[in-house]
């Protein structure tokens, strides 16, 4: 998830709308669809990436998705051995069916700040019992990554990193070296964090307020309508015509 607060972007969607788009994609993909509708849905993440100024992400995704579409169209012409053929069809189907949702999910996590997400969750009436663990989880992801990097350094100094002789002497132990200090550090940070949060009134039974404001605006509505309209149009056009 994006750690910076939302920058003033020209194009900015409400987190609730983003999640709704994802839910729509995931639901529609459950059904058997023709290739044109699947392509239309596949284009949604491209659009979302571009609004978030992630051109390289959009290109990478387009290539993978485009190849799968091509593989699907020309599947009858592919004359390879049985196993390879199957792998291509399976992988292609996997990408066509699941990648749009994967990519949208990734877009949501990258383009939404934690506070925005929390405000949105609390705006839809999510319980405190969910909100607190969720925000703690998002705060701990970078902690885990950082502490793990430090442990990686320590292991490298001791010669127990992958590619060193001592690592392969006892890989199980090398794994233990990694995960144990990490657990201990994260647990200790957690203890300190709990103390700090409680001393700032986390357990106050008063209804908690949020500082970050989330509003569904005209951009959100227009985007949602456009997406639904395009996909529906493609569906109607290709199935009924």
């Amino acid at each position: 998830m994006n750690k910076e607060a939302p920058r003033k972007r020209r194009f900015h969607l409400d987190p609730r709308i983003k999640v709704l788009i994802l839910v729509l994609i995931a639901t529609v993909e459950m059904f058997s669809l023709n290739i044109w509708v699947m392509t239309a849905i596949g284009l949604i993440p491209v659009f979302l990436y571009l609004t978030d100024h992630r051109v390289s992400g959009a290109i990478k995704y387009s290539i993978v998705f485009g190849l799968s579409v091509l593989a699907h169209i020309f599947r009858a012409d592919i004359q390879l051995n049985m196993v390879l053929n199957m792998v291509i069809v399976l992988l292609g189907g996997f990408v066509l069916k699941l990648f749009p949702a994967f990519a949208t999910g990734e877009y949501i996590l990258k383009s939404t700040s934690v506070s925005e997400m929390m405000s949105a969750f609390s705006a839809i009436g999510l319980n405190r019992k969910m909100l607190i663990p969720l925000s703690v989880m998002f705060r701990f992801f970078p902690t885990i990554r950082r502490e793990h990097a430090a442990i990686h350094d320590a292991a490298m100094m001791r010669g127990v990193s992958i590619g060193r002789k001592r690592f392969w002497k006892n890989p199980g132990q090398a794994f233990e070296y990694r995960i144990i200090p990490l657990m201990i550090t994260v647990a200790n940070i957690g203890n300190d964090l709990s103390a700090a949060a409680l001393s700032r009134g986390l357990d106050n039974p008063a209804r908690h307020t949020t500082y970050t404001d989330v509003k569904i605006g005209i951009t959100d509505v227009v985007t949602l309508i456009c997406i639904i309209a395009v996909v529906t149009a493609v569906f109607v056009f290709t199935t009924l015509m």
Partner: protein, 194 residues
């Protein structure tokens, strides 16, 4: 001072261990790009996650913590693009794991083992579309590749794979619980965090 309600401290604990669990699943799950790793990761994930989860279980004294973990993990994977089956699997598995603890008693290893094994089954929500939501997917293949081809393909992915999957996860979770228990005694208790 002790309440049955979940306090802020409990909820922070839930957040921390859920984060670790998600991180473990993500790192190991990344190898899933190679299909052959699917069955292997079904053993490895619950095995490795056994270490943080056994530490987590030492902090659980109230009903609801595992359910929340299940909901969050399910939502998180749903939001990262897996299917809604993640939620459909992880919520009940978390809830049942919680019930097992509530009935059997907290902080008892004999109770923790089955609780964790049930909880671990929730992760089958990830590959589940291959079996469940796959119907439409199979239709698609039948339609495009022909009946014969689809049958052949189904031969590679027989329906009993589901039971194999469940078996693999249960074995992984059982071993994971033992591994976690070993690490608790070897490290965490002495380090004063368990």
């Amino acid at each position: 001072m002790e309440t049955k309600r979940l306090t802020g401290k409990d909820l922070i604990t839930v957040g921390i261990y859920t984060a670790i669990y998600v991180a473990v699943v993500f790192v190991i799950g990344a190898t899933n790009a190679i299909p052959i790793m699917y069955p292997i990761s079904m053993v490895i994930i619950p095995l490795v996650a056994g270490i943080p989860m056994m530490l987590y279980y030492t902090k659980i004294e109230k009903f609801g913590m595992l359910t929340i973990t299940g909901i969050i993990v399910g939502l998180f994977f749903y939001l990262s693009g897996y299917t809604w089956l993640c939620v459909a699997f992880l919520v009940p598995s978390g809830l049942i794991a919680d019930i097992i603890l509530k009935v059997g008693g907290y902080k008892k290893f004999k109770v923790i083992v089955p609780s964790y094994m049930v909880y671990a089954l929730g992760m089958l929500g990830g590959p589940a579309p291959l079996w469940f939501a796959g119907e439409s997917y199979w239709d698609g293949i039948r339609e495009s590749m022909g009946e014969q081809y689809a049958e052949q393909l189904a031969g590679y992915m027989p329906s009993w794979m589901l039971w194999v999957g469940i078996g693999l996860v249960l074995i992984g979770a059982f071993l994971g619980a033992l591994l976690g228990k070993k690490m608790l005694n070897k490290h965490f208790k002495k380090a004063g965090i368990a």
